[in-house]
Symmetry: D2
Subunit: 255 residues, 4 copies
């Protein structure tokens, strides 16, 4: 059984608030539930309740939501989960990402693809690139990721299983990204506005099939067995998700 060690990331849950912290000895968590000295945690198993605090081993969702320092639009679990699923990312997947942003999805792809997988990510803007790199360095040694401060370039010999584009004008990158996908490879993108969805659909007309556009609404409930009801407020919108698959027209067979 693994136990809590120095420098581990820990997730502290107090009521419905969550905090991701690195266990630096000598430091402590100060919250409404009192002071939680980190040294007292060392050697305990994960999943412990100390007074009003629960302390857990962070999962990928925790890292994305509470560990990534954001300079760009947050990616929500509802969308992250679907993106990983629709891009079919699993052990060994090779993924290309255009627009690393804060690196949250880069982290998702990296973890899902595992040590046998590969994630190539591009972030053109220097400030975002540096932040993403810092987030990736801090949250895990991700040897399967290569992050480039650049447009999508090179990698001509590679064939990627899936690609995700998360920039303002995804349609400008679709042709290039398509050329890096294997036959039948998967493409995804997320855009906040309906106008952008229309532009994406125009961009996908050439060379992509099985196009889907969707939005996901996630509603949490108050966890009271005798008074079960949804929470009062929710996220109304993050973005529209679009997915498609690379296709090649072939001369129809003699049917």
């Amino acid at each position: 059984m693994s136990t809590i060690q120095e420098n581990d990331f820990i997730l502290i849950v107090y009521q419905d608030r969550r905090y991701l912290k690195r266990l630096e000895p000598g430091k402590a968590f100060h919250g409404k539930g009192g002071i939680l000295p980190f040294t007292s945690l060392i050697g305990l198993p994960f999943g412990v309740r100390l007074g009003e605090y629960d302390v857990y081993e962070p999962i990928l969702e925790d890292l994305i939501m509470y560990g990534v320092k954001r300079e760009t639009q947050i990616v929500y679990p509802k969308d992250a989960a679907m993106i990983g699923f629709k891009l079919n990312i699993r052990c060994g997947s090779r993924v290309i990402e255009v627009g690393a942003g804060s690196g949250a999805l880069t982290l998702l792809f990296s973890r899902l693809a595992g040590p046998e997988g590969q994630v190539v990510s591009f972030e053109k803007e220097e400030r975002h690139f540096r932040n993403a790199q810092k987030n990736l360095d801090r949250l895990g040694s991700l040897k399967n990721v290569s992050l480039h401060q650049d447009d999508v370039i090179g990698y001509e010999d590679e064939e990627f299983d899936a690609a995700f584009i998360d920039v303002r004008e995804p349609w400008l990158h679709m042709e290039k990204v398509r050329s890096l996908l294997k036959a039948g490879g998967l493409l995804g993108t997320i855009v906040p506005t309906a106008n952008q969805v229309s532009d994406c659909l125009r961009g996908l007309q050439v060379g992509f099939g099985d196009i889907e556009v969707m939005e996901i609404m996630l509603r949490y409930y108050k966890i009271n067995a005798e008074r079960l009801r949804p929470q009062d407020r929710m996220v109304a919108h993050t973005g529209y998700l679009a997915f498609a698959r690379k296709i090649e027209e072939v001369v129809p067979p003699q049917v």
Copy 2:
């Protein structure tokens, strides 16, 4: 570049309909877009358009949605994606499942956990057990899965990373499942009714923390750039998802 071979599974997309087929030589797909002889596909890359048909390599979602023969309630992509994500399943995960049903989630867990992972699944009802086994056999050689026609038993020496319960009365299994989870291990369940959610919440009071209940609504859009609008109808409800983490009360440290 991998090409379509005999006995491969293929996904045929015609307009917004999808069909999962095994490529048996000499056979053909008969649909509204005409006859598609399978032999004509052999040797082509995946991701090809032949007349009105698109032919793709099936992804996990396709197998779950179109390949699993169902005798039980279908699991939808919106829920499957979130279940995999919230249970943090990835290369090497060890997962326990109570209620294999038709095996759709078993397949999900197996694929996400990969060759280094392990999935132990229980299905008490003989008819469902046989159907699940058949689905798993047919859809992929999943050496990481062991399916038992039984209640949750044994495996006392194991520590699982995550567990999913998909039976009518999940609360009856929570204590046993908890004993098989590692410290801080993850639990998920899905139930169709609000009354069951209340019962699950009562069951989770002991030994679980960070409880979340949610429902996911997925709305697809018509893929028309000039007339962008949601589809007319949608799935209104599949089930309520509940997630929690195993927790142990400890004597509070001297704060």
Copy 3:
């Protein structure tokens, strides 16, 4: 107490199906619950259960949903209710409607405005005009309605409290309709696509304020106390609703 009489409209409810019928003596309702001879109902009060059938006095919603013969897109209760509310229609309201369609909203406006109110409605297409007129004639003597087969014309001396535009290109009519509204008068419209919403917003830039765009999702539940859950499927989209108020720029006061 009023009782069921010859030629009354009646609403027959069988399980979750509803049927609006006119009580023609000698006729009968033939359904899965058996034959219900209309003569047997005469003299009974509304709100009676006969075998598996419930018979009610129709309300406005029943007339709109089950009584209006449709040649155009249906208006749903969720939208109709909000339209009446946001246009503030009540006893005495004067309402202008551009695009009567099948007359369902005309009926709504007429009923809500009551005998002291006034509804002026335009329907350019002859076929729709005739159908709307027939629906209005059949479903109630609505002396407060005048239906015109024309574009929006005349009525220069009038000042309407509210206007609703339900045509393909609402923005083409906004300026004219604005001229018929009283100062601060209310405008509403419904369009199915996001692209049309953008065009409406452009049209509303001039002369309208307090602009709101919304969509309403209505989810019904299965009425089972022990197994409470939403219905399986729902209407995902009918249209986007936009509302605004007529505004006049004035020279700012000396503040």
Copy 4:
């Protein structure tokens, strides 16, 4: 054309904020858009833009949302609109209300029922009763309303068209309220939790038919034609609405 007069209620809109004020001479509105002296408004038509402020004649929604001083749970437009619609309230309706709360729905019923209608409302708790009475007095001379600080009593000779119950345990009042409804009369209620819905459904088993339970989700959009998208956050839940109609079992006719 009616113009703004002393003591009129006015709605001030600044960006997406709305304020309901009574025009007291000598006073002014102080907001982020500067100072708006009320005297400068007198004699202007409603629907005027002065600097960054729009000034409108309040509609019923404005009174309910911004004019009612609340001591109880707010009623939202999405629900208020549907309640008025499903209870079929219009000029001349006679309505009974159990649980006036802050009087917001009382005001709705009163306005929709008009001078020919009648609203009888009960509020047992003295503090709420006084607040409701004050709200009703302040927001309009509503001669068709009688508000009682009491349980539902008396009115034995009356027959009401519709009833709305808005208390913690609506099921306790259903039998009494039913006795005051006309044959086929309409009943509505709103409850925040799923558990209460189950109890309501049990209460409606006797003497009511055509039972419907629903929830309404309203999503507003940002009014930017070039960047059309929903607002970021929304109300996730207010309450579950239930509606039914009074029914009488009769000896089945000789079919």
